[in-house]
């Protein structure tokens, strides 16, 4: 069974059709890329999968369970983790606490009574979730930044932290929105290695929206290409590179360099 299935999803804003009848499937353990030129509707589709907006038509299932109308927080509890193009870290909290919040929200129930009375249960839960967070710090190689404010981290480390934060909730599926933006090529390559570990070692399925073609070609096992809200191609990275429709969408006309600029928009 596929981990995620977004079936014939259509999203309209007023008269504008941002996503038009797109079907995207992430198999279990898959590493799927979603690419397309600017304004193709990638992020819109992505937000519909993450629960930050509701599709006009179509159905989204996670492990066969319909999650179409579910709010973002509920989807997260079912196992969808995500990162954001514009970082959504908890800036004033320490790096460790960023991970701790995530671990706690997945691992332990809210118990305000033992919280405000500082009962033993609170401390055992904190120790348990603290270990998860510490473990993640080691995995991310961020131990040196443990007590720094998240807002003070350089972008490269901040992206790692956001990924780690989502991983602390033990997701089945990770949604990554343009993780390479703001990173230089070395940092992007490192991030790509990390993503491979997440996918292969931890067995987490990934859906990646990305601009950086080197990264996409390097890590993804299969790609979907969106243009003007429509799915124009799908297949392995090698097939996609050769696909004439994709080349047209990205380069305007195959052999005309000058046409590349207007097509970029």
């Amino acid at each position: 069974m596929s981990t995620l299935l977004a079936q014939s999803v259509t999203i309209r804003f007023g008269g504008l059709t941002a996503v038009d009848d797109a079907t995207v499937e992430v198999p279990e353990g898959g590493f799927i890329g979603l690419i397309g030129p600017n304004g193709a509707g990638k992020t819109t589709l992505f937000n519909a999968i993450g629960g930050f907006l509701t599709p006009t038509r179509g159905r989204i299932t996670l492990d066969g369970r319909d999650i179409t109308g579910m709010p973002a927080a509920a989807r997260a509890r079912l196992g969808i983790g995500r990162t954001f193009q514009k970082l959504e870290l908890f800036g004033r909290m320490s790096v460790f606490d960023n991970l701790m919040v995530a671990a706690e929200s997945a691992e332990s129930r809210l118990d305000i009574v033992s919280d405000i009375l500082s009962l033993p249960r609170r401390h055992s839960e904190e120790a348990r979730c603290g270990r998860i967070a510490e473990e993640m710090l080691r995995t991310l190689d961020l131990e040196w930044a443990r007590d720094r404010r998240a807002a003070d981290l350089p972008v490269g480390h901040a992206r790692l932290l956001e990924l780690g934060r989502a991983l602390c909730t033990k997701p089945k599926l990770m949604l990554l929105d343009e993780p390479s933006s703001g990173l230089d090529s070395d940092e992007t390559a490192d991030f790509g290695k990390m993503l491979k570990r997440v996918n292969e070692d931890m067995g987490i399925s990934i859906l990646l929206v990305e601009h950086d073609m080197d990264l996409v070609m390097d890590v993804c096992k299969a790609l979907y290409v969106l243009d003007f809200g429509r799915l124009i191609a799908q297949g392995s990275p090698k097939q996609i590179v050769k696909d004439p429709a994709v080349r047209a969408a990205y380069l305007g006309e195959e052999d005309d360099e000058a046409a590349a600029a207007p097509a970029e928009r």
Binding site: G50, F52, P71, A72, A73, A74, A76, R77, G81, R82, F84, E88, L89, F90, G91, R92, M93, D97, N98, M100, V101, A102, E104, S105, A106, S108, L110, D111, I112, D115, I116, L117, S118, R122, E125, E126, A151, R165, A166, T169
Partner: protein
């Protein structure tokens, strides 16, 4: 028909004055991003100056109005912009909202200080008598006609300036996108200064036009103006000046019709009083999503002075224990009146803790704490008086009664953010006041309602220890809340709600929870406060107190329990000091000092006095460590040069 037309004219006249003022309010809001809750107090202050010039100094009324509107008010506006609001740029919106509350308290206080809070009648700019009769026979007074003409001319003048002048283009550019306008070479500082000058002029003009009709009354005018002007601004959604103008006219007519056709006493009178607030609430709840959520994604990183090196954990623990140990000895060391004063300080500290867990921990805001206090206190009183419950049970049930109200506000806070939340909660405080607390069956009319004290705690000393116990309990609860899982979740929502949601955190649940807890703590504060006089009345929980408490809490420090305790004790002791003959002037200076303290604190160090204390503690620690290190080097040289700095 004739009555209806007269009512309509009345509504249009007063409506055009509100419209004028709300245009000024929206203008400054759009250019500087600050919605001025102190607008009414500025109008009050400038109108008092007008009164002094026209009545005391004997200047012609017209001349005095011109001086105030074209010289005094613009200068005041520019000073406020350059000294207060420009330094606050880059701070979260809530900080600048609170700064304008400080401004409100400050100018209300200055009016109190200089003009002794006297109610004065202000001469009209226009002659008495009838200007002309309408076809239906209704008479139009010269005064009304004059006010209408001035208001319309001022608004058209502003419109023409924005439309056709160079500076007007710059204005509109800044209004539509401040940062891009700055990049395009527009001096945004100059524009916002001018906007503040214009806004303050409009406030003055409003005061001068309205005061002859209303009386210049410091207790009445500012809340009145807040109500109608904010109402008008919000009805236009603070988006466009014409809409703000239309909103003002609308509210003026609605009010006139309400007053004319529906009785102004009793239940319907109370409804009529809360009309603008009802409109604010409805307008906010039904506002377009993008507007309500304005500032939702904005960071809540408050820039405050860094504490370089905190004192060690042990030192801080020791200082805390010593401090509370000293407080415990107050009834033994000091006289009864000091004991009572410190008890009040405890109660204020508890009320401020209810603000700290909202603003400091969660990045939320509430100007509605007096509503929770009142609900709790009056419920307790009725349970004791009517149901004859023992005080011990009633004083827990009372604050619990405030919890659902808090939950509802929290639920609304999921959809409404920042500025609009501040507005909503203030509207809530006003509505609770005019709908319930002014109802004699609830608040006991003139004499108030008797509450008494719990059995065994009638004396000042035992009451002191009761308050002390509650303070320690709530302080511990708040600290545990912050350091525990709940506190982390609240902090995460404060920094990024989107991020929290992506982790599976139910933002709704936690907002409902934290506003409920805040309501409970504030409610307990209300009950404990009414133990002081053993009664509560319709003046005990006026909405103005919500704003004043916020100002005092900021002076102490709004970001932590320590600040709440410092602020509470400060205000308790202040009350005691002003009781001494020599220091009785403190009474008159109260609003000025705390209002000024609040705005200064926000500009200098938003963490308030407690933040400064922490800095001092850190400085002492550094000094002490340096000295011990030096003495150690002298006796036994360190093996390795350097060491940690």
């Amino acid at each position: 028909m004739q009555i209806f037309i007269r009512t309509l004219i009345l509504g249009i006249v007063s409506g055009s004055v509100y419209a004028l003022a709300s245009t000024g309010l929206v203008l400054t809001y759009k250019t500087s991003g600050v919605l001025n809750f102190g607008y009414g107090a500025l109008a009050l202050f400038t109108t008092y100056i007008h009164w002094t010039l026209a009545v005391n100094a004997g200047l012609p009324v017209w001349l005095s109005a011109l001086i105030v509107v074209f010289i005094v008010a613009p200068i005041l506006g520019v000073i406020l912009d350059t000294q207060l609001f420009r330094p606050l740029e880059g701070q979260p919106q809530i900080i600048s909202v609170i700064a304008t509350v400080g401004l409100f308290v400050l100018f209300r206080g200055i009016a109190q200080l200089i003009w002794k809070g006297a109610t004065e009648s202000v001469p009209s700019l226009f002659p008495a008598g009838v200007a002309f009769h309408l076809p239906g026979g209704a008479a139009v007074a010269k005064d009304d006609l004059g006010v209408l003409i001035v208001a319309v001319v001022a608004a058209l003048g502003l419109g023409a300036m924005l439309r056709w002048t160079r500076i007007g283009v710059a204005f509109r550019a800044v209004v539509s996108n401040r940062s891009v306008a700055g990049l395009m070479g527009i001096n945004t500082g100059y524009v916002s200064g001018l906007a503040w000058a214009l806004g303050t002029s409009f406030a003055a003009l409003m005061g001068i036009l309205l005061a002859p009709k209303l009386l210049l009354d410091p207790n009445l005018l500012p809340p009145f103006i807040i109500a109608f002007v904010l109402g008008a601004a919000v009805v236009g959604y603070m988006r466009s000046l014409p809409l703000a103008y239309a909103g003002g006219i609308f509210i003026g007519i609605a009010q006139a019709i309400f007053v004319q056709y529906i009785r102004s006493q009793g239940f319907w009178g109370r409804i009529s009083d809360s009309l603008p607030f009802l409109m604010i609430t409805l307008a906010v709840i039904f506002a377009p999503r993008a507007l309500r959520q304005a500032g939702a994604g904005a960071s809540f990183i408050v820039h405050s002075r860094e504490v370089m090196q905190r004192a060690s954990r042990n030192t801080r623990g020791l200082v805390t224990v010593l401090f509370f140990g000293f407080l415990a000895l107050v009834p033994i060391l000091f006289s009864g009146s000091w004991t009572a004063a410190v008890y009040q300080g405890f109660v204020y500290a508890i009320i401020f803790i209810s603000l700290v867990i909202l603003t400091g921990y969660s990045g939320q805001i509430s100007f509605g704490q007096t509503a929770f206090m009142g609900i709790a206190a009056f419920t307790t009183a009725h349970l004791v008086q009517g149901a004859h419950l023992p005080m011990w049970i009633a004083m827990v049930l009372g604050p619990l009664a405030a919890v659902p109200a808090g939950n509802i506000i929290g639920f609304i806070a999921v959809r409404v953010h920042g500025l609009y939340l501040a507005l909503m909660t203030l509207a809530f405080a006003f509505m609770a006041d005019s709908l319930f607390f002014q109802n004699p069956t609830i608040s006991g009319g003139e004499g108030g309602i008797h509450i008494g004290r719990p059995a065994g705690f009638h004396g000042p000393t035992s009451l002191f220890y009761l308050g002390f116990m509650f303070l320690i309990a709530f302080a511990l609860i708040a600290v545990n809340l912050r350091t525990g899982r709940t506190g982390r979740v609240l902090a995460s929502m404060r920094d990024s709600e989107t991020g929290s949601r992506s982790l599976g955190i139910s933002v709704t649940k936690y907002k409902v929870l934290i506003f409920g807890l805040s309501a409970f703590i504030a409610g307990m504060g209300g009950v404990l406060l009414s133990f002081v006089l053993e009664q509560a009345g319709n003046r005990s929980f006026i909405p103005f107190l919500s704003l004043f408490f916020m100002a005092v809490a900021v002076v102490g420090g709004i970001f932590g329990v320590g600040g709440a305790i410092v602020g509470g004790l400060l205000y308790g002791i202040y009350g005691q000091l002003s009781g001494y003959q020599l220091l009785s002037w403190l009474n008159n200076w109260q609003l000025v000092l705390f209002g000024l303290g609040c705005t200064l604190a926000l500009v200098q160090n938003p963490e308030g006095m407690f933040g400064e204390l922490r800095r001092a503690g850190a400085a002492i620690t550094r000094l002490y460590e340096r000295r011990t290190r030096r003495s150690r080097t002298r006796s036994e040289p360190l093996p390795v040069a350097g060491g940690q700095e």
